[in-house]
Symmetry: C2
């Protein structure tokens, strides 16, 4: 059972997951990607290797927890947070601890082991975003859960432990640091200008046309002005929208189309790089409706983050976003 702690200086939350089956000093190198379909818990026919499914796309009306699906959502087998936990608190002023309340689910994005977001149909990628949205809508009925982290690790270098296509959804009783940082900045800007800074960025980027990778009526794909990593890219709705889970089907389909297009451009340019995908959507508070704007960040993992990043939080990026955008625009 995990425990949440709040850093007494910064207020940052950390999740502790003590594992009593091993000694605290046993650290083995990260195991290689498990890639044998015969033993893959996410492959069709291996439904008994996962927990009970929470959601599935079964076009033929097949039975729950049995074959005949295109997508399944199941509990993470080693959840870092659980809905059965209580937030609690031990009451110490400086050293605050809480129970590991939350949820940690896995979206199995395809029945086919060798699929990926670039080889799947755009309908299949849309279905992944649909599953994210449906699970978020269900989980947010629990008022103890404040925010979501939805992310995808593609490739061992990006942190994936299984190569069957999947993503993870975490619901948390706190707002995670990167989202908190964006919210604070967006609030500062809203106080000064009375409009959403993301909307302003969308307008200016379309007008400047230096960092735009692609765009259509609904979505903009851009290389952000102060990108932390080479070829970092964002997919942003052109119209203001604070929360991903409030989005209609058409918007999800447009986002899926943009993400797939971007990943194909990255594949063509950078020889199928490992990458992370992270959804940033507003937390439960209604106060942020006007100032936050959901977006999806795609982070290729081409360089190792050095001690400078670790020790200070300062990123050093060798590729300006204008150059990244031009290369990706010309890629297909």
């Amino acid at each position: 059972v995990s425990e949440l702690r709040v850093d007494p200086i910064t207020g940052r939350w950390v999740i502790f997951t003590p594992d009593h089956t091993r000694r605290s000093t046993d650290f083995t190198p990260p195991s290689p990607l498990r890639s044998d379909p015969a033993s893959c818990p996410f492959c069709e026919g291996h439904e008994e290797l996962t927990g009970n499914e929470l959601l599935a796309w079964r076009p033929g009306g097949s039975e729950r927890n049995r074959p005949g699906w295109h997508l399944r959502v199941v509990p993470n087998r080693e959840p870092v947070l659980r809905v059965e936990s209580h937030l609690g608190s031990d009451g110490a002023l400086l050293f605050q601890r809480f129970g590991g309340l939350g949820a940690h689910e896995v979206i199995i994005e395809s029945a086919r082991h060798e699929d990926s977001w670039t080889t799947m149909t755009v309908e299949a990628v849309s279905r992944v975003l649909w599953a994210w949205r449906e699970r978020m809508r269900d989980l947010k009925r629990d008022v103890r859960l404040k925010s979501f982290v939805v992310l995808k690790n593609h490739g061992a270098l990006a942190g994936a432990r299984l190569d069957h296509p999947h993503s993870q959804l975490l619901a948390m009783p706190f707002v995670p640091p990167q989202l908190a940082e964006e919210l604070e900045g967006a609030e500062r800007q809203f106080k000064a200008k009375a409009h959403c800074v993301f909307c302003e960025i969308v307008q200016q980027e379309l007008q400047l046309n230096q960092r735009v990778i692609a765009s259509d009526d609904r979505m903009l794909t851009l290389a952000p002005f102060a990108s932390r990593l080479p070829f970092e890219s964002w997919v942003v709705p052109r119209e203001h929208a604070a929360r991903f889970e409030d989005g209609p089907d058409e918007l999800l389909e447009a986002a899926a189309k943009c993400i797939q297009d971007l990943l194909r451009r990255l594949d063509a340019t950078l020889l199928q790089p490992p990458f992370n995908v992270a959804l940033h959507s507003a937390p439960a508070s209604p106060d942020v409706d006007a100032l936050f704007h959901w977006h999806i960040e795609i982070l290729p993992r081409l360089t190792r983050v050095s001690g400078l990043g670790w020790g200070s939080g300062v990123f050093v990026n060798p590729v300006p976003p204008e150059e990244a955008a031009q290369v990706l625009r010309d890629a297909l």
Copy 2:
């Protein structure tokens, strides 16, 4: 020449270092640690492979840029920031860019290639801290420089590119994110309680004695309450002190003794893990004298940071600090 950019949403600074000798799409796997003393630019006798030395410890009074030294400080050969740059600004409201002003230096910590902080004498480790302090004192005469990052990467997995013992010092025209986060938290606490939160932590940790790894009259070595990584450890002065560079020799010697003791405990416990060391010291502003407290963070790199860390900033740590502290206390 590098460029600084400010993220229009979060205000985070990013350093761009475009390299015009390669294509932006050329990314090779990180090169292995360079470990041949015959070609090592930091070994004694190879002084012509570095820039002009900025500081050295030459007990026999030997000539500058020649053999006969125990420690040298030289400019980084690929500096991400330079004092010759101008901060400037292109004036755009949303998209702020600045010149790559700052300094980036390398402290060659020993003339012997195979030395490390655990094998060096405590006097030699003290000399490293002395070099950090002297370079900080010199650089802070440039009022354009607001803060310092001093860090050490030990081992390829911690980001080192040469295994000759060395550390890096960066002077920056902005306050880096991790320091900014600590400053904000410390300021919040100071406003509420009118005392330094680090001083309160030192008192409480000594009293509770659950996360103390070692202590003496001047310094405390502890596993922080909300540690992000397994066996993360901090070395903190027991008396209030905002800035490392104001510290007297005796305090530097006490810190060197604690760091070496801690690293020997980590080596004995975890089979010589790769690690980062980062100095956190107050930025130039006098407003923070009463509320910030310098400390040195030692971060063993035992686990890979997953997409969760990347996509959200949330750390998942399998080892509670109470357990880490106990193991390290019992290690020698």
